[in-house]
Symmetry: C2
Subunit: 302 residues, 2 copies
């Protein structure tokens, strides 16, 4: 099985119920350390969007006319703009875009919905800076993919101008862990396990409902959402988080493209040497270029 | 550990993702076969309430002035009024009540919410027969406990007259399996496992949301519910399904008594030789007697 990360996670390294936050974070960090470094032309500049810290990510091909608001992964408890620089910079390269990588607050120090609030605040600040919503794409991986969808939900429900699109790589959008693949891929997933995500979700939510649509956007209605693209691996336990985004979008007549990459693991795009990673990033880039950052006239007419 | 049923279930007998419905049913049936038989004075009479089949259960001490509408357990896929005769008859004996044991439709032949509809139809038929709502107590164990709460929710939302109370033994009220005890009691639960319930829930729901409040009443608001009593074992993975009923009730200012019996397993009351089972049945009986089937004058004044 072409598992690119020979991590000892998954079933073989079952967590005890009393695993503490340090141990859980270590699990995520062990994965991040295997991510490929950013391309040589990538630049990172610490910045704030309104009150929200983060960093601007650009590559040579970046256009300021196309902005990704990116939420890094790490189960809502780990990760940072720094840990995910490689994948964000590569996505910018394929999308001819710049990205603001959101340094949202993490659990358990800051419970749900703190991180979501940060994301919406960052989006609002982008608009207030004069960035056209039709040039913005919400994006994220793992828990950050969940945040991208939760933020989209909050933006829609708050009657704010909608972004041009939303994309996600191996998103975690169901804190209840009810996807069929949580069981069927338990053995094939080399990175994530039910135990790890179950414990992680408790740190994020404490006593709050895991079925809250803002925590688990898979339980939201997708009415009026902009076009969506979601990629996941067929071997990961979150495969059906991706496929159910497709179901929700279809129910709401929202344009959606869900792509499940054969035998790929969680966030396989972090290893850009994989042929599947190249294809995935190219397709995401193309989707973003087609949806966001059109000429001002076309934007105004939208 | 005083596990009264030395069943090989739980972690040690992990189910494969392709386990079929016959295998799942066999798991439940293996448990039912260990239930104690009914007491010698119990009588069972096949009957219908409106269109709903089932049986009347009476013991010598039964009063027609106090009626349990009982939903047997079995994960929504197994069980029948017959399999649970012992526990229902004993409950009638302690409550000085009769019971109508509902032969609700099972999954996967009949998906959610078929069984719930049957329950509500049976309740409506009881009222149409002239049975006072203040003399009726909804009751159930395992999935039947979930049905009792789901029926209560439907009765309230449908503006039907409310029953006097609702009781449950080791209820399964969360199809998303998000209770903390699902993880922490994985090793101590001798009967149920995450795998078994995860697969069972898929047979019951297919693509329907496991967070639907009618499927998982733990996600409902309990406003206006009548008094509740719920008993569970501290060793079972559904322990926190019981404890969260207490949380929901407290949030809605509904009188509630949740009792967690130390080191007890799922539906420990099925073995009436256990001291804890005697205490539990006595307390449930006392609660029912105090809440339901008062003299007509008092009923009218309620």
């Amino acid at each position: 099985m072409p598992i690119w990360q020979g991590s000892p996670l998954g079933r073989s390294a079952r967590l005890e119920p009393d695993a503490d936050i340090a141990e859980l974070r270590q699990r995520f960090m062990a994965t991040f350390q295997k991510f490929a470094p950013p391309p040589s032309d990538a630049q990172f500049k610490p910045a704030q969007l309104g009150p929200i810290k983060g960093e601007w990510v650009t590559v040579d091909r970046s256009s300021a006319n196309r902005t990704l608001l990116y939420f890094h992964g790490g189960g809502f408890i780990a990760g940072s703009p720094e840990t995910h620089r490689g994948i964000i910079a590569r996505l910018c390269d394929h999308a001819f875009a710049r990205a603001f990588s959101v340094g949202y607050r993490l659990a358990p120090e800051h419970l749900f919905p703190s991180g979501l609030r940060d994301g919406v605040d960052a989006y609002r600040a982008l608009l207030q800076k004069g960035v056209e919503p039709s040039s913005i794409v919400l994006a994220g991986d793992d828990a950050g993919g969940g945040l991208a969808f939760s933020a989209l939900l909050a933006i829609r429900n708050g009657n704010m101008p909608l972004p041009a699109a939303c994309i996600a790589l191996s998103p975690w959008v169901d804190m209840t862990l009810s996807g069929w693949s949580v069981l069927t891929n338990a053995r094939s997933d080399a990175q994530l396990s039910w135990d790890l995500l179950f414990l992680t979700a408790r740190h994020y939510l404490k006593k709050q409902s895991p079925a809250d649509p803002y925590a688990s956007p898979i339980y939201a209605g997708f009415r009026d959402f902009p076009p969506l693209m979601v990629h996941a691996g067929s071997a990961e336990i979150l495969r059906d988080d991706a496929s159910r985004i497709g179901d929700r979008a279809a129910e709401a007549n929202v344009p959606v493209s869900v792509e499940i990459y054969d035998r790929m693991q969680h966030l396989f795009q972090a290893n850009p040497e994989l042929q599947e990673a190249k294809v995935s990033l190219q397709r995401l880039g193309q989707f973003i270029r087609q949806r966001a950052g059109r000429a001002p006239a076309a934007t105004a007419a939208q």
